[in-house]
Symmetry: C2
Subunit: 171 residues, 2 copies
């Protein structure tokens, strides 16, 4: 099963593609789409086009979008929502199912600690996927989403049943 993880952001949207074969995870691709400067509609179009291209290239079976929750200020929350809506549009336009996990769930699944730091996530993603180098922060977050889903999918729909991960195990 091929999984596309997306870490949405208006400026930078990270993506990561992995294959899950039984218990084994294999790295396929990762990177980010930058929306550049300009008007909002043009920036969202850049994100949508980029994600459409990634989906067309790697043909994932499922898409995972991080359930971001930022409480900085309403303007950036709105911007994030718009980027997140665009990411979900790209998935549903391709007829793909979308799973969502909170940052807490993702960190629990990948690091074993819901409050792990960014560097710990990058480190564990590198280790779990046997990458030759450290992935960028946005790509690492997206890959972490995909890993979380791959783990969760082992137990069935994690978020629907309302179960919680505890140090990498279902509690």
């Amino acid at each position: 099963m091929r999984i596309l993880g997306i870490d949405p952001g208006l400026q930078v949207t990270g993506f990561g593609v992995i294959d899950k074969n039984g218990q084994r995870l294999a790295y396929i691709a990762s990177g980010c789409v930058k929306s550049g400067r300009g008007e909002l509609a043009a920036r969202l179009k850049t994100l949508l086009d980029g994600l459409n291209e990634i989906i067309a290239t790697y043909r994932p079976a499922e898409v995972v979008v991080e359930k971001v929750f930022v409480n900085v200020n309403p303007q950036s929350t709105l911007a994030l929502g718009q980027a997140r809506g665009t990411a979900i549009c790209a998935a549903v336009l391709a007829g793909l199912p979308v799973a969502e996990y909170t940052a807490l769930q993702v960190k629990q699944a990948v690091v074993g600690n819901g409050h792990a730091k960014k560097e710990q996530v990058q480190h564990m993603v590198k280790r779990l996927l046997a990458l030759p180098g450290m992935p960028g922060a946005d790509a690492a977050d997206a890959l972490a989403c995909a890993i979380c889903h791959a783990h969760g999918a082992r137990f069935g729909a994690l978020q629907v049943r309302g179960l919680r991960m505890k140090r990498g195990r279902l509690g």
Copy 2:
């Protein structure tokens, strides 16, 4: 010139279509798309499909999306952002230009008072478009966006030049 106004919301997205012939505005259609209950991706898909259908049916030349700004709580701001991103995706997928106006600009243009109440907007939309009955609140807001753009377009790109409307006139 045919204009599609959109008042985005995750639960209810209002739309309004008008034709602008010189100074004259003509009502074409209005209504709303409801996303129903269910998972976020399914709801955004319902909004996207609905707006795609509206664009295919009425073939507007331009799309106007209200620059909503809500400071209630981060969760609803995020939900709004996702609906707004979806509305803009529908427009850019059809290759249409997107204009944005704040609620203040829309109310100024339609009522002549940036702090007008919802009922005043509904009343003025009914009058300006010579509607037989009062439009629903969501449809009225969407029609008001389209009217604001039709007025602004008379003077060129309103929001780009940084001009402000004052009691229906440019100041």
